[in-house]
């Protein structure tokens, strides 16, 4: 009986550890990378998370088409043009930093999801306007 219980416990622990490892692996493998402009240009994949600040003068928004285009400046100071087409975003002018999700085509970053970071004064709420994919 005792050996049976121990075997059961060992199996449970092994299965649980295996499951956790598998989950961790799934998360890391499927998670999308954050990139800067240089890395975005070198990367052919979709779901890139391009992080940077918006050059406010370059913002060009067409709410009727749910389109916004702007120049994004990354931490190294490199600029890339972003064409966003997706959920309407009303607070683009408040945005401090953005994460544009998408891929690069002909040197332009085509994005269908835009996460806006506003200089929020209350940290517990997201000033996000893009609906998750």
């Amino acid at each position: 009986m005792a050996s049976k219980v121990k075997l059961g416990a060992v199996v449970t622990v092994v299965v649980a550890l295996g499951a956790m490892l598998a989950i961790g692996f799934t998360f890391v493998e499927n998670a999308n990378p954050y990139v800067d402009v240089e890395q975005a240009l070198a990367n052919t994949g979709d779901g890139l998370h391009l992080l940077g600040s918006i050059d406010k003068k370059s913002v060009h928004s067409n709410p009727l088409q749910r389109e916004i285009s702007f120049d994004l400046v990354d931490a190294k100071g490199k600029t890339m043009h972003v064409d966003y087409h997706g959920e309407a975003i009303s607070n683009i002018n408040e945005a401090d930093k953005v994460v544009a999700v998408g891929h690069v085509k002909d040197g332009v970053f085509l994005s269908d999801k835009l996460n806006i970071k506003c200089p929020s004064k209350y940290e517990d709420k997201r000033p996000d306007a893009g609906k998750p994919a």
Binding site: I23, A31, H60, L64, Y122, P132
Partner: protein
């Protein structure tokens, strides 16, 4: 921070406010002193009666001091004392009192003070009933509260901004961001912080049980607190979801954002512990497991708080996290590490051994099924769910520890992982109440739940009929597919039916059990009610998101559009005063008519002047709750301009709206003397517009810029009945002009969502909380247990 130029006219800060700040700081230091007294008083092996009294009262008085500090901060907020940096950053003189109060917990320091206060409430009440565990319970609890006091002393909300050594009172603070000004900001944070505060009880009890060397009798004492904690934290989580739903404009409740996960992980661990305790009470087993689990909710919450405040998730979250003062962050980090190592160190060296000595024999039958087995599976699944989310949340942290490029774990990925836990958990929640603690064959179990299965199938049929004849003329697209693991695609409707049937099974099973037991023990049904609530909530989330239907319309003032079976007419603004659109309570009114009746959608719309003098529209969605569905009316900022201003050289052309509008700029002529009032510059434009009928019509327009005593006026010129044009500027050197095309009537882009059965989400949350509170009341200790350790056998 505070503008140097403007401060000359500011009055001095009132003396009482200066004193209130000093008092606040002092109270926090006093609280720290009281907690230290309490720790010392209880921890010393040889204690006099006096020391014990001092230790007891030190713990209570420490809590009272914290509340005093909270009241000081609240008073400063209520009276707009912006000479304090924290009040300046989060307060607003012109806003309603509820938002002034919400300012208290809008930032780092205030939310830590709130956490300390809510924790101490639970500590004080739980300590009174802690019996033989009171000594070590208080030591552990006071250590934690003392640590919070330490953080609050370093990062105090009572920091005054002095200009040239003077305390001056600025007239206005920065205030809450517009998007946060919603009644939930007053309700949700205190509720969820009550939940966070309650998590400390199980942790301190677990430690106390091990130090007191009695891992048996703590269970009935801690159990009601764990139930209460699960109920309150769950309610807080739901409120956060409602808040997101009502204000964020995409109509979702949950998106697995780090801040949500930080609350979700301890909540699930709390629910896990609660079920483990049930087994210990009923079967006199799982002593070791429960001791291990008791630390998890609190430890994971502290870890999550550290993660979100540390800046590791800075790039990985859409939240803007205020990074903590480094010293305060180090205190928190050291506490997380010490708390975890300390708890599990004591567990490894003491707790596990103590548990082994008292654990009952495993007399479960080898064949068939028993409730303990199902609870074990349930506990493993819940722990797995919680651990999975914790892993997902930590990916950016782990990757930066490993010097890897950070990665983003998105909502869809969480869904794909957690569904494997949710489905079996819901089935367990339906099955477990039917299984007895003793031997039971699988056939016997099947026999017991057969009625439930039949009822579930029957109800599923009703759901099918409802889908077929969905109200509001919304047909569900049968061909829709959703992504599945292994790059497979599942047809939406069957997959939804699987998920719904699982929820239905859990719901029916627990209703069945209530009917069976309510006569025998009417107050024992709290757990079943909570299960019903969870199943209802899950069903609501699944149905409202899965069968969501969206249409987009662009509605021009005075026009009529139709979407989702409604005829939509724009009726104007609710605030008819001049400048009414600058009032925060202004609503845009849309008449929504359908053959089944109608309503007026009142999405919020007002304008602010931004710091760069631009007109900034702020919009709020309108949610119309119907019995079987919600109409979610998301208004986007009105569009007045066709595009950005175009710079056109003389004789040149510019195309807008994908070539449907072509502007030819022929040049400018001047009327009057340059620089004199009354002088006009008139642009000569030919504008070709492609109409809806495909015919191109060319219009001549002459917008002008005129020098007036008040500056330059831009005179708009009509183009046709839809369009008008202005000249925004000109460059004499280059001979170009800035031309702006406008719509004569604003266009309102609207996203309209049909969300079926959203009511279940609200109902489920309420029922879960009700069940939790009932269960907590039912399991409250009947009488105060003996207090002195030597009473214990």
């Amino acid at each position: 921070m505070l503008e140097a130029a403007a401060h000359q006219h500011w009055p001095s800060a009132p003396a009482w406010a200066v004193d209130a700040g000093i008092l606040g700081k002092t109270l926090i230091l006093l609280a720290l002193a009281f907690f230290l007294t309490s720790i010392l008083g209880w921890a010393l092996p040889k204690r006099t009666r006096l020391m014990e009294v001092a230790a007891k009262w030190g713990f209570v008085l420490g809590g009272v001091m914290l509340f005093g500090a909270f009241i000081c901060l609240g008073t400063l907020f209520a009276n707009d004392q912006f000479e304090y940096t924290y009040v300046f950053s989060h307060g607003d003189a012109e806003t309603a009192m509820k938002y002034k109060i919400a300012g208290i917990w809008s930032g780092q320091q205030g939310s830590f003070l709130l956490w300390a206060c809510t924790s101490s409430i639970f500590g004080i009440f739980a300590a009174r009933k802690a019996g033989i565990y009171r000594r070590w319970f208080t030591v552990a609890y006071a250590t934690f509260l003392g640590m919070l006091c330490g953080i609050l002393a370093y990062e105090t909300p009572f920091e005054m901004a002095r200009l040239h050594g003077q305390a001056l009172l600025p007239p206005q603070g920065a205030g809450l961001t517009a998007s946060l000004q919603n009644y939930w900001v007053t309700i949700h944070p205190p509720t969820i912080f009550m939940g966070f505060g309650s998590l400390t009880v199980a942790f301190a009890f677990g430690l106390a049980a091990m130090f007191t060397r009695n891992v048996v009798d703590w269970v009935p004492l801690v159990r009601p607190w764990v139930i209460l904690s699960t109920a309150i934290l769950g309610l807080g989580l739901c409120m956060g979801g409602f808040w997101a739903y009502e204000t964020l404009g995409w109509g979702g409740f949950w998106m697995w954002d780090p801040v949500e996960n930080v609350s979700f992980v301890p909540w699930i661990f709390s629910a896990t512990l609660l079920h483990g305790l049930i087994v210990q009470v009923a079967r006199k087993r799982w002593y070791s497991g429960n001791l291990a689990m008791a630390g998890l909710p609190f430890v994971t919450f502290c870890y999550g708080t550290f993660l979100t405040r540390s800046g590791f998730l800075g790039d990985a979250s859409v939240h803007s996290f205020a990074e903590m003062n480094r010293v305060a962050l180090w205190i928190l980090a050291v506490f997380v590490v010490l708390g975890t190592l300390g708890y599990y160190g004591v567990y490894a060296f003491l707790g596990a051994r103590l548990a082994k000595m008292v654990s009952g024999p495993d007399d479960a039958p080898a064949r068939g099924v028993n409730r303990e087995g199902l609870y074990l599976s349930g506990v493993l699944l819940l722990s797995g769910l919680s651990a999975a989310v914790a892993i997902g949340m930590s990916v950016p942290f782990f990757m930066s520890l490993a010097n890897q490029k950070p990665k983003a774990v998105e909502e869809w990925l969480y869904h794909r992982v957690v569904v494997w836990f949710f489905v079996p958990v819901l089935i367990m929640m339906g099955l477990a109440p039917f299984v007895s603690w003793r031997k039971m064959g699988w056939l016997q179990l099947l026999n017991r739940v057969l009625n439930v299965i039949f009822l579930t199938i029957g109800l599923l049929g009703c759901v099918l009929i409802a889908i077929k004849f969905a109200p509001g003329a919304i047909a569900i697209d049968q061909s829709q597919r959703i992504p599945f693991p292994l790059k497979l695609w599942a047809p939406l409707v069957p997959w939804m039916l699987v998920l719904i049937s699982v929820c239905l099974f859990c719901l029916v099973a627990n209703v069945w059990r209530i009917v069976e037991t309510v006569r025998r023990a009417p107050f024992s049904v709290g757990g079943f009610i909570a299960h019903i609530g969870v199943a209802t909530l899950m069903a609501g989330l699944i149905i409202s998101r899965g069968f969501e239907h969206r249409e987009r319309v662009d509605l021009q003032e005075g026009d009529v559009a139709s979407a989702l079976g409604y005829t939509i007419t724009f009726r104007g603004m609710s605030n008819q005063e001049e400048q009414g659109v600058f009032q925060r309570d202004n609503k845009a009114l849309f008449e929504m008519d359908s053959k089944d009746g109608g309503f007026t959608a009142r999405p919020g719309l007002y304008y602010e002047i931004s710091s760069d003098e631009q007109l900034k529209p702020i919009v709020w969605p309108h949610v119309e709750h119907m019995p079987t569905y919600d109409i979610y009316f998301s208004l986007n900022p009105p569009v007045l301009d066709v595009d950005d201003p175009q710079s056109i050289p003389a004789g040149g052309t510019s195309e807008l709206a994908k070539g449907e509008i072509k502007i030819k700029y022929n040049g400018v002529k001047r009327e009057g003397q340059p620089g004199k009032v009354g002088t006009k510059f008139i642009a000569n434009l030919d504008i070709a517009v492609t109409g809806a009928d495909g015919v191109v019509r060319t219009h001549h327009a002459e917008p002008s810029m005129e020098i007036t005593p008040n500056g330059i006026a831009k005179n708009q010129a009509p183009v046709d009945d839809q369009l008008a044009v202005t000249m925004e500027g000109m460059n004499v050197g280059q001979g170009s002009a800035m031309i702006q095309m406008h719509f004569t009537r604003a266009i309102y882009p609207i996203d309209l969502y049909y969300k079926p059965m959203t009511i279940l989400v609200w109902l489920g949350a309420g029922v879960t909380a009700l069940g939790g509170v009932l269960a907590a009341l039912y399991r409250r200790p009947a009488k105060t247990a003996p207090e002195r350790e030597d009473v214990a056998a």
